[in-house]
Point group: C2
Chain length 198, copies 2
């Protein structure tokens, strides 16, 4: 029923996750109400981002350069490595501003049940990097999950010959949470990881 | 913290209504995961829609042509006119497929409290059209609201000299609604508009 150019844009919006027919319609009509300049910059920002952003050849993080500005920053602590499964986590850490070491971004987590094997998530690139580097500690910053545990244990095993400390982020009851709503797995972990008060 | 081309696209997504920082970030990252072809067609669909869609010179509906395919359809009933305040309502009616007359799209509703006057919503174009046309009935299909009532009454008054029947969509308890959750204004309207069972 819509003119074809509206229909085409609705279909494009539906490429995005969580966007169904109704939301896509609402967005296409919203685009119609923007200024011509805004629409043109929106469209060119989209294409430019897709063209300019690629993966850092050292850490696999998203960057516009060959090497990202974290890997190329000489003042970062080159002995500490945070391993994440999603480039967004790097930006979350950097926004926090309290970590001064390096990162390595995997292409997801190992998940045998979904057929995702170590080679699919780029473990060998990480192993090469660590073998050629001089890291004291590797910190796994994966979402707490079976896949996160599996991936961390696999990497630790592969690198077991090296003199490196492995750690993961603490997991437990989040700050400010209502005890009533904490799920049982989180509570179990919080109990087994309990910290002595000194 | 994000590379500038990601940041630019996040800002563009924030032009859309109801899209805040977090959702815009999620969408920009989703675009990054699309194929290059998809991103290019998304961007060109956006610009093309903005360039191709304009208002029908007769009814003010959205179209790619000078006159929309409803106004130019000779088989439509030229004596009946549904007046709406949003082009989307035309598509809702057309999808329903039970109305065979014509439409007129206002640029919103009269709202003195918000400083929106009859000339701001294009009442004079509607009046000209009706004066030069041969309509039997004008049906107001506005969202039930004070502004909708005001606009309907204003148009009826301006056109009062003509031999035209004016009506509005029935308003009342929606089909399938739970009586417990029907708001009091709707219930009041449903009671005063009650229909005799014959």
């Amino acid at each position: 029923m819509y003119p074809s150019s509206i229909k085409n844009l609705i279909e494009s919006f539906k490429y995005l996750p969580g966007i169904g027919e109704k939301t896509a319609e609402r967005m296409a009509f919203a685009v119609l109400n923007l200024d011509k300049d805004q629409v043109e910059s929106f469209a060119s920002n989209m294409v430019e981002m897709k063209n300019n952003i690629h993966k850092c050849k050292i850490c696999n993080n998203l960057t516009e350069d060959e090497v990202c500005n974290i890997c190329s920053n000489e003042s970062r602590n080159k002995k500490s490595l945070v391993v994440v499964d999603d480039p967004k986590t790097v930006f979350v850490f950097e926004n926090l501003g309290i970590y001064k070491g390096l990162y390595h971004v995997l292409d997801g987590l190992i998940s045998p049940i979904d057929g995702v094997n170590p080679e699919d998530v780029g473990i060998s690139q990480l192993v090469d990097r660590v073998n050629n580097g001089n890291f004291d500690e590797i910190i796994f910053a994966f979402k707490p999950s079976i896949e996160g545990e599996t991936t961390a244990l696999y990497i630790k095993r592969v690198l077991s010959g090296m003199n490196i400390k492995f750690s993961r982020l603490a997991s437990g009851v989040p700050m400010g949470a209502d005890m009533e709503y904490v799920d049982s797995l989180t509570l179990e972990r919080a109990l087994s990881d309990r910290k002595e008060i000194e």
